[in-house]
């Protein structure tokens, strides 16, 4: 199996397109960071002008964050009034309340969104680019063997077909993981080069007290969660590509699903069925950022739903690939 994977990896990197993809990922990630930096400088410029007018910049900023934390706290408290909250939701909100309270009491600023720490803490922005590129590879890895005619060479070997398909699926995921890591390294490097460390602190409620949270721990966790959508979408593209032997169809459908997914979820969010559709669960970072589209779902539930979908995709992919009569 290792040799088969080695083969797939070799074929992948001998295509020029693969290198172009890596270059694109680096450029796009760097571009996004550069853009953020530009927005940041625009913001500080205008703030400085305002600050000069009212003389005391530091005082202005300080009251600024206190007001927003107070506003946030009021929001959390209002939410806590709601009696229909589940236990875990209540617990989470109470933790937030504790952290916000602690900030006000000890005058600890939250992290500025343009600080180096905040950039590192949320690397999920790279997953969109990675997903696009991983889907292209996933869609083509089986389909290309058919379109080039090499499938005849590949399948007349003393290797069972399911093994060949497995090696291809593993190569796709390995490629996805590699892209995530490359994107992450670029992002972190630029966060350090372009952005200053902020004055604020990242605080979390550990159940007993408010403590300073680990920025890197959070960063890796977010990276892992954002890989979820890459994995699921590339599994989908892989399935379509191997069933219909057309990579363009697979790329098209996968991206359509990726972009239309949230719209469909929004439309259906009032109904129970929304809990079971794929799109609701694709973005696992929703549990960290708090932008949940559908109520009453949790991370374990999402993982279970995604697992069922991925298993269905793979069963379809394997059965068609193993049974297929190769004619062309």
């Amino acid at each position: 199996m290792l040799k088969l994977l080695q083969n797939e990896w070799m074929k992948l990197w001998h295509k020029k397109g693969t290198w172009v993809m890596v270059a694109l990922l680096v450029v796009i990630t760097a571009g996004m960071m550069g853009l953020t930096k530009w927005i940041d400088t625009q913001r500080t410029d205008s703030m400085n002008q305002v600050g000069n007018a009212s003389v005391a910049v530091s005082v202005g900023e300080q009251t600024d964050w206190k007001a927003s934390v107070e506003g946030e706290l009021a929001g959390v408290r209002a939410q806590l009034e709601d009696t229909s909250l589940t236990k875990s939701e209540r617990k989470e909100l109470e933790g937030e309340e504790k952290v916000l309270d602690y900030r006000l009491a000890n005058s600890i600023e939250p992290l500025d969104q343009f600080s180096r720490e905040a950039m590192v803490m949320d690397p999920s922005g790279i997953s969109g680019t990675v997903l696009l590129l991983a889907v292209i590879v996933a869609a083509g890895i089986v389909a290309a063997e058919f379109s080039q005619g090499t499938v005849k060479m590949l399948l007349t070997r003393p290797v069972k077909r399911w093994k060949i398909l497995t090696s291809k699926f593993m190569a796709v995921n390995l490629f996805g993981i590699l892209l995530m890591l490359i994107g992450y390294i670029v992002l972190v490097a630029l966060a350090f080069i372009l952005f200053k460390s902020g004055d604020g602190q990242y605080l979390v409620w550990n159940g007993k007290e408010v403590v300073e949270g680990s920025i890197w721990g959070k960063s890796f966790y977010m990276l892992l969660l954002s890989f979820g959508s890459v994995f699921v979408t590339s599994a989908f593209a892989f399935t379509i590509g191997s069933v219909f032997r057309s990579s363009s169809l697979a790329i098209g459908l996968s991206l359509f699903i990726y972009f239309m997914g949230s719209t469909v979820t929004m439309l259906l969010s009032r109904y129970e069925v929304a809990k079971y559709i794929l799109f609701t669960h694709m973005d696992l970072t929703q549990y960290e950022t708090g932008y949940q589209m559908v109520e009453g779902i949790s991370l374990p539930f999402s993982l279970a739903v995604l697992a069922v979908y991925v298993i269905v995709f793979l069963v379809i992919s394997y059965t068609t690939f193993v049974q297929r009569d190769v004619k062309a």
């Binding site: 040799k3 088969l4 080695q6 083969n7 070799m10 074929k11 001998h14 295509k15 020029k16 080039q148 005619g149 090499t150 005849k152 060479m153 590949l154 399948l155 007349t156 070997r157 003393p158 290797v159 069972k160 049974q323 009569d325 190769v326 004619k327």
Partner: protein, 305 residues
Amino acid sequence: MKPIVELKNLSKSIGGKLLIDNLNLSLYPGQITGFLGPNGAGKTTTIRMMVGLMKPSGGDVIIDGVSLRDNFEEGMSKVGVIVENPEMYKYMTGYKNLLHFARMHKGVTKERIDEVVRQVGMQNRIHEKVGTYSLGMRQRLGLAQALLHRPKFLILDEPTNGLDPAGIREFRTYLRRIAETEGVSVFVSSHMLSEIELMCDRIAVIQNGKLIDIREMSETQGSFYYVEATPGERVEKLLAAQDFTVERFKGGFIVNAEQAQIPGLVRSMIAEGAEVFAVQPHKRTLEDEFLEMTGGGQIAETLTK
């Protein structure tokens, strides 16, 4: 002799249409068997089932005593395949392509790859991308990949497509050599009847999904002579009177005479006052026989493909 490959009641139907009907065939070590048939007779389908690209609807393919249905990996480890134009990964070098396929077999070393590269005479260009190769070179590379794991059975579908005459000849002698020295059983499907005739020990003919004939090429098919003499009717009567079977052919006759009978035959014709223009040995080509067996018709199409 124990056959290397046995097709047992092999059948295939697609969409209710029976493409291959109860095919039985045995292939022996050291023998080159040609596989002939008009277009759509089921040659390609049969070959695809023998190499695991298609699943038989009934029957079985047995390679060196192992059924492909039960143990695909062990059976296929003894088979080398060239299916039509060998399509390789164009963006990789010839060597990387061979490495790729070598990894899919057990026990193919780097030395073995180099050896095969030398055997097919590719050592000068093996490290160039396959995309830059000519069709003939791709054919050589195709042969190389089929030989990597020293197969006991080599199956070739239209192997000489795109080879120049020298290449075809070299290919033929090469196949002969590995069949004789290494006892490899070779199965060749081709439209080029003259090619099959030169290359094969045995031919199997398929038509409408059924095997209609298997024959040894070395089998004596009787000796024939072509006789051209006038006046036609008198000569025909004379020959028939001497118990020869006579058949009109072009301007003369085909007579099943032995060499020793020829002087007597000529003398009798001259004694009858016939004008003799030609008496020459006549060899029936495979094409004649093939047309006879398959009833012609479709052959024109077959040959022009």
